[in-house]
């Protein structure tokens, strides 16, 4: 009785059980499939799925790694939103960053890809814009710190002083007012990454016959071509780029730290991830840090879903 239940259940595909019965071909293939999939699945579950679930659980506890987690209900979340002013600052910073840098880098990488696609020497141009994104933000911050250095030796201050546009050096990376703009500029410089490549590849894949057909149907300008032919065809790539842009925008951390330090002056360069890092690995308040992580997870997942809904090509 017991064994017949097991056979009927589609989940029972363990080889030693399966070998006792004559298997259909499909079932054998499924078993083999799971065998091939298992290295990925095990590592994915251990290092991605379980951590996400554990984050959710920990976010309802007080946990300092020394004592076992203590259930505190929603209090982490209420402290986070009602009492933690620094979190609200980091939230504000991250949203300002995401709202400005996210769409800007997304549109910029599409526009650049679109222009480059019409030029000769595509490879050279695309390389020139892609290279900044594969350099290490941490390593390159040395160059940026020189450019935005707060004394007369800083390149930008030096130029502006020479041209008489300012009379005193600007403290770019220590003045709370200029930290965020500097971080945004540097991130934009580095943002022509994977999304840019996907756009470029997608554009190259639009067959020229479609434009000819469009011309017959009365499409006259390049912008009409873009709107009626190119963009609809590129939905999968646009979606991929958008997901990338969202994750990138909300995950901003290392550039911010490299430029403004941690903690940054007046927390002007403090991002959600910086706050998370602060509570998790400096103060070891892991329950609280988990609440931050869960919040961030919900934000990116929610935005990702919205973008998917908007751009999905499935429901057409």
């Amino acid at each position: 009785m017991q064994s017949s239940v097991e056979v009927n259940s589609p989940l029972q595909l363990a080889p030693q059980k399966a070998s006792r019965f004559k298997l259909t071909n499909a079932r054998k293939r499924a078993a083999l499939g799971y065998l091939f999939l298992s290295p990925f699945l095990i590592l994915f579950i251990v290092f991605t799925v379980i951590p996400v679930l554990q984050s959710v659980y920990l976010s309802f506890t007080y946990y300092n790694m020394l004592q076992p987690p203590r259930w505190v209900g929603l209090s982490n979340y209420s402290v986070l939103f009602l009492e933690d002013d620094i979190f609200l600052t980091s939230l504000k910073n991250t949203f300002i960053f995401a709202v400005i840098a996210g769409p800007l880098s997304y549109c910029l990488s599409f526009m650049l890809a679109w222009v480059i696609n019409t030029l000769k020497a595509k490879m050279v141009f695309s390389l020139a814009f892609y290279v900044p994104s594969i350099t290490s933000g941490i390593a390159l911050s040395i160059v940026w710190l020189y450019i935005f250095s707060g004394d007369r030796y800083g390149l930008l201050n030096n130029l502006l002083l020479d041209w008489g546009m300012i009379s005193e050096p600007i403290l770019w990376n220590t003045d709370p007012d200029t930290i965020m703009p500097v971080i945004i500029v540097v991130s934009l410089w580095m943002s022509m990454g994977t999304g840019f490549l996907v756009f470029l590849a997608g554009l190259q894949n639009v067959s020229p016959e479609l434009y000819e057909a469009g011309a017959i149907d009365g499409i006259s300008s390049r912008f009409q071509e873009l709107w009626y032919i190119t963009l609809p065809l590129m939905k999968p790539q646009l979606l991929f780029g958008a997901v990338n842009a969202i994750v990138g925008a909300f995950g901003v951390f290392d550039i911010a730290v490299a430029i403004s330090g941690m903690p940054s002056p007046n927390y002007a360069g403090h991002t959600i991830i910086a706050h998370l890092f602060d509570y998790a690995f400096i103060r070891f308040e892991l329950g609280y840090a988990s609440a931050i992580a869960v919040f961030l997870f919900l934000v990116t997942l929610g935005l990702g879903r919205i973008v998917m809904r908007l751009l999905s090509s499935k429901d057409e």
């Binding site: 499924a30 091939f36 040395i142 450019i147 998790a280």
Partner: protein, 284 residues
């Protein structure tokens, strides 16, 4: 002479000029980084600072690699750490993710759709979100401060399996059936057929994964505490933030140069393959 043709050509020239100017502008920090790495001591501290190097020298590299005796660990150790970890992650991830993607794309066992949906959602959050529990898991396995801590958590990456699955999806099933009829086992089909025809895809994966791991700052920051386990990005930040900032300016510039070079060279070598693969990586 046809006037409108002239205008079109003029506009085109303008566009090129604009794009070249833009490239020049975006390239500035990299040019400056390269030129600084080769500056002799007196040029490093010139006022006003000079952009290009006048008398290039390899002195900074020499300082970095041999004379960093003020720190506990020789700089070459950081280079080795970064290189070893990146290469180990890249190849294990390539193997594990390609095998998984092959199943999701061609076997489609029950639950494959669900697994892929989870992978898609996993694309949508920053890796830092899971860093705390991952740290706890790594630490309970006793792996903190070992190479395993830097390698194991980064093998099963959602992006990698996603990229490979999208590529495998457009390999015709007929190809696999033909191999089956010829008597090839599933393993052999994966190894000899699928991997052979998807060379551009896995070359792309190698590049992305190498670049990502080479530049990764957060995991090394979290999972290592001992000086000898640090990777390049951490080491460079230590150089930059240490007390002897001025004295080490040259070594720092040289370190940055060494850190930045491999990703650029690798991308340069495989650019064509990457572009051919990215066509298939949209989310449908």
């Amino acid at each position: 002479m046809n006037f409108s043709k002239f205008v079109a050509r003029f506009n085109r020239g303008l566009l090129y000029a604009f794009m070249i100017a833009l490239v020049g502008f975006t390239a500035l920090p990299i040019v400056y980084m390269v030129s600084t790495a080769f500056k002799p001591l007196d040029e490093l501290f010139l006022y006003p600072p000079r952009f290009f190097v006048m008398k290039p020298t390899l002195r900074s590299f020499f300082d970095l690699l041999t004379a960093t005796d003020s720190s506990i660990v020789p700089f070459s150790r950081y280079i080795f750490n970064s290189l070893f970890v990146s290469v180990a992650v890249v190849f294990s991830s390539l193997f594990v993710c390609c095998l998984g993607a092959y199943v999701l794309s061609k076997f489609k066992p029950p639950g494959a759709g669900f697994i892929f949906a989870i992978i898609l959602s996993a694309l949508m959050f920053s890796p830092q979100v899971t860093q705390i529990p991952t740290y706890m898991i790594v630490s309970s396995l006793g792996l903190v401060n070992t190479y395993w801590a830097l390698i194991l958590p980064k093998i099963a990456v959602a992006f990698n399996i996603f990229l490979m699955k999208q590529f495998f999806d457009q390999i015709p099933d007929a190809l696999i059936e033909a191999a089956h009829i010829d008597g090839a086992s599933d393993w052999k089909i994966f190894w000899r057929v699928i991997m052979a025809v998807s060379k551009p895809a896995w070359a792309t994966l190698i590049i992305f994964s190498f670049i990502g791991n080479w530049n990764d700052y957060f995991s090394a920051l979290v999972f290592t505490t001992s000086e000898s386990m640090k990777t390049l990005p951490l080491a460079i930040q230590t150089l930059a933030g240490g007390p002897g900032v001025v004295a080490r300016t040259g070594a720092l510039a040289a370190g940055t140069f060494l850190m930045t070079l491999p990703p650029i060279l690798i991308f340069l070598a495989f650019q064509k393959l990457v572009m051919n693969t990215m066509v298939h990586s949209g989310i449908k």
